[in-house]
């Protein structure tokens, strides 16, 4: 594509797109340093008061812990399931079997609304005589993150050189040994990317979590949403800034070696 799309107009439009994507994040970060008692952007004065104010609002600490625990479990579970699934898909493809229907099935969670998933799971939960707890949230987040995980790992797993496996197998390695010693090391970047993305998506999920929240199961973004429906205060911006900064810095540092860009089926730095 070098012959097209990188001209002056192309670059201007791409720059505008980046600006549009960054605008709300800049507004959150900017307004978190305001010295006013209300939300102000560009900030009036400079203060770290909003950050200290986070602790003054009850419930946000327990919600943070809840969200972190859920994200930890979800990221491990999604990564493991995605690894196993991607392997299965690769093998089927090699055998010349079609995977179209399976690909569609695994993409389904992206197209079925999170809110509908939340409503449906709540109904099943009560139907089984169970209470809302941390587990339905974990399950809902696994459902939501699985398509992304499968997609990231599949692009790498599907492109592996079959000869390395053949060599190991001919030299007498068992199937499990081949996977752990030959295949898994090659998948490491994709595994890191999947782990990180599913943790981030879980930390930010509201669509389903909103419906699965009772007094004890309010995740952090749901708590923020419930609060900001009535009041927009600077400490929300401060909290938001922390939740923007951590994943973006991690992504920036790990993009070169590990590469979330494979989610898009591409690499961030190719040429």
């Amino acid at each position: 594509m070098r012959d097209f799309g990188d001209g002056r107009i192309g670059r201007l439009l791409a720059f505008l797109a980046c600006l549009f994507l960054a605008a709300p994040l800049i507004a959150v970060v900017g307004s978190s340093f305001t010295s006013t008692a209300y939300i102000q952007f560009p900030p009036a004065g400079f203060s770290i008061e909003p950050y200290l104010d986070i602790a003054a609002h009850p419930g946000f600490d327990t919600s943070t812990w809840l969200s972190l625990i859920i994200a930890a479990i979800v990221s491990v579970a999604t990564t493991v399931i995605a690894l196993v699934t991607a392997r299965g898909l690769s093998i089927r493809r090699r055998q010349g079997k079609k995977t179209g229907l399976l690909d569609l099935l695994f993409l389904l969670p992206i197209t079925i609304p999170h809110a509908v998933l939340g409503v449906a799971m709540l109904q099943v939960l009560y139907g089984l005589g169970l209470q809302v707890s941390i587990w339905p949230l974990i399950i809902a987040h696994i459902v939501v993150t699985i398509p992304f995980g499968i997609r990231i790992i599949n692009t790498t797993d599907g492109g592996l050189d079959l000869n390395t496996e053949r060599a190991a197998e001919i030299l007498g390695a068992s199937a499990l040994e081949v996977y752990l010693k030959v295949i898994l090391p090659q998948l490491r970047p994709a595994v890191v990317a999947t782990f990180f993305l599913s943790a981030t998506l879980s930390l930010g999920e509201v669509g389903a979590s909103l419906f699965l929240a009772d007094a004890k199961t309010v995740t952090l973004p749901v708590r923020m949403f419930q609060f900001m429906q009535y009041q927009a205060l600077p400490f929300i911006s401060a909290l938001g800034t922390l939740l923007i900064a951590v994943p973006l810095i991690v992504a920036l540092l790990t993009e070169k070696p590990f590469g979330l860009a494979r989610l898009f089926g591409i690499k961030a730095s190719r040429r």
């Binding site: 192309g10 605008a23 109904q123 139907g127």
Partner: protein, 303 residues
């Protein structure tokens, strides 16, 4: 014979891996079926039930919930229409933002620029929709850098425009997700051929790049449309209480009025409408797009 041994060994690889393959797919299939498809099927079943919230016994089935919606059809028609319209506009805005970015990513000669583009493309996926929507609230609100120029006292908030902007931001990564692989695999010799035959940049874009990437673009727009039509947070925070979309109605029925049956019917109707719209647009794309027409022409002449 060495060649024979090697072939047999490869055969062993195939055979061994062959047995394991189906069983490797079971966990993911189970997760999607048990925790997504079955609950959603039960939700659809509940939309035909009048058993009280929380009661697992859905029988006998009735049309009453849909009857109730039909009774105030004027109101619901307005809400559904607006939901689909704003979601559609949001998806188009997302496509408008995603396209130049995707084009930049696949075409730029500069490594640094490519990295920057990819990074910005990823940001929306890494930040919760709650925080991003809050950012738009700040920008469009009465004291914000854009909102202060609005005529009313509430900035640009509580308006359809605000909702479309929020949904556009929501849509962008989903368009990129299906557009980028298509653009990345585009056959460059086509562009060179068009250039060589004297086509200008605009013409190359319209006739070659856009045409060839249309399937990815349409797929991305449809996913964004479905996401945008079902999100609760964005219309709630940017559209205002008096301007509720269907996802908000569903949320209120679940959380405030505990009318699960009505919530189930509204969810079912919404999914149905999204499905119908997506199907029709997909059909139109496969009939009307120049790429599909060209493929059909080739198939005909080949026979």
């Amino acid at each position: 014979m060495t060649a024979g041994t090697a072939t047999r060994a490869i055969g062993v690889v195939r055979e061994r891996t062959g047995r394991g393959a189906a069983y490797l797919l079971i966990p993911a299939i189970l997760v999607v079926v048990v925790f997504l498809l079955v609950p959603v099927a039960l939700l659809v079943a509940r939309s035909f039930s009048d058993s009280p919230a929380g009661n697992p016994d859905l029988l006998p089935l009735t049309w009453d919930n849909y009857g109730a919606i039909l009774e105030s059809w004027g109101y619901y028609l307005g809400r559904f229409g607006k939901t689909l319209l704003l979601a559609g506009l949001g998806a188009l805005l997302g496509a408008l933002v995603a396209y130049p970015l995707a084009l930049g990513i696949v075409s730029t000669r500069s490594r640094a620029l490519r990295f920057t583009y990819v990074f910005f493309a990823l940001t929306p996926l890494l930040v919760s929709v709650v925080i991003r929507t809050f950012g738009w609230q700040v920008i469009l609100g009465p004291t914000g850098p854009v909102g202060q120029f609005a005529p009313g006292t509430n900035g640009f908030l509580s308006s359809d425009l605000a909702v479309v902007i929020g949904l556009g931001h929501l849509a962008t990564p989903f368009v990129l997700l299906s557009l980028l692989p298509v653009l990345d695999n585009l056959d460059h010799s086509l562009i060179r051929a068009a250039r060589g035959l004297g086509a200008g940049a605009v013409r190359v874009f319209l006739k070659v790049v856009l045409t060839m990437s249309m399937p990815g673009l349409v797929a991305g727009i449809l996913v964004s449309f479905s996401v945008g039509a079902t999100v609760v947070v964005t219309p709630q925070l940017l559209g205002g209480r008096q301007n509720q979309l269907v996802p908000n109605l569903i949320f209120d029925q679940m959380a405030q009025f505990f009318d699960w049956n009505l919530a189930a019917s509204l969810s079912t109707l919404l999914m149905l409408m999204i499905g119908v719209v997506s199907f029709v647009i997909g059909l139109l794309e496969s009939w009307l797009s120049p790429l599909a027409r060209a493929r059909r022409a080739v198939a005909l002449s080949g026979r």
